[in-house]
Symmetry: C2
Subunit: 203 residues, 2 copies
């Protein structure tokens, strides 16, 4: 059986990455999603094991020392990371798996798994990005300014990725992402079994 693929998805605040992923999983229900391990407290709207596994600092540092993470970051005093085991096991089972990380996480994963395919989600323009961040309306001006600067710094590293998708029209962006995944399944090294079966029929 041929191996699956790890797809790394990144995009700044305002890129609409989360909505895009929700739509992607409707089209590709067979896709696995890599659940992050994090040490911050669970929030009211969160369920354990849905997007995050909530673990203790000790458990997290134990994973670091055993090299059990594909990538990790510290953010406001808490650890955030991608456990290696579920990703490796999906790939070995021939399954495709999605990991959603920032540019730093993506860069760490690429070093450990250079065969991963990475996709950067872009807002259509600077103005739209600004509008999207302002429209949330829940944050202070300073906080929005910081988010905007952070977004631009991330976009400045988009060239580290294999693909870039502009999230202007959501349905078009979902199709682009879905096509990247479908087309990867046509790669020759994912079809060696089929090729061999045609050749073997001869002998």
């Amino acid at each position: 059986m041929s191996k699956g693929r790890l797809f790394i998805i990144s995009g700044p605040s305002g890129s609409g990455k989360d909505t895009l992923l929700v739509e992607l999983f409707k089209i590709h229900p067979e896709l696995k999603f890599s659940i992050s391990s994090i040490t911050r407290d669970i929030r009211d709207n969160e369920k354990p094991g849905e997007k995050y596994d909530f673990i203790s600092r000790e458990q997290f540092e134990n994973m670091i020392s055993k090299d059990e993470l594909l990538e990790y970051n510290v953010f406001v005093g808490n650890y955030y990371g991608t456990p290696k085991a579920p990703v490796v096991s999906a790939i070995e089972n021939g399954e495709d798996i999605i990991v959603e990380v920032d540019v730093n996480g993506a860069s760490q994963i690429r070093m450990k798994m250079p065969e991963a395919v990475s996709v950067f989600i872009l807002p259509p323009s600077f103005d739209t990005l600004k509008k999207r961040l302002l429209n949330r309306g829940t944050e202070s001006e300073d906080r929005i300014k910081a988010r905007l600067e952070c977004a631009l710094a991330e976009i400045g590293r988009a060239d580290e990725y294999d693909y870039a998708i502009v999230n202007d029209d959501l349905q078009k962006a979902v199709k682009d992402l879905s096509d990247i995944i479908s087309v990867d399944r046509l790669r020759v090294n994912r079809n060696q079994t089929l090729i061999n079966s045609i050749l073997e029929n001869v002998r």
Copy 2:
């Protein structure tokens, strides 16, 4: 402006490659097609400059000596080759161009243009391949046997390609090929202008 891409398409007799390409150009009329230069006589059903440019041995050997070909072969005493200039000019103009060559031609082109994307068209099974070759009904048993052996030798080199498409259901195969081309246009290095424009709006 970002560059275009050269797509190399190969597939043995019986893979249905020609029909596939006709359908592809209906979906992607913007695609260019690389016209081969050949030294054999023109046939009744052929038009000069459609699929082939019919040139003299002297002209062809002149192109060889000037390194003006991306690849060439000798077949039954005649030269067949892919002129370099139209391919390079399409790519520089940001256009995608298709070249249809055999496995030897593909391998020569890859050495000169490693950034080319190559696709191998497969028959769905050995039995179907045999049936398709027999159904032509215009050739001797020996000739069919030779074609079949040649097809299997080509399939044995499918792993030199980036992608493999099984031509079982024609519409599915056309979509696969069309998607490979569309997805390539999402590559980050083909969208650097767009990324820069988002970043430049800030200053």
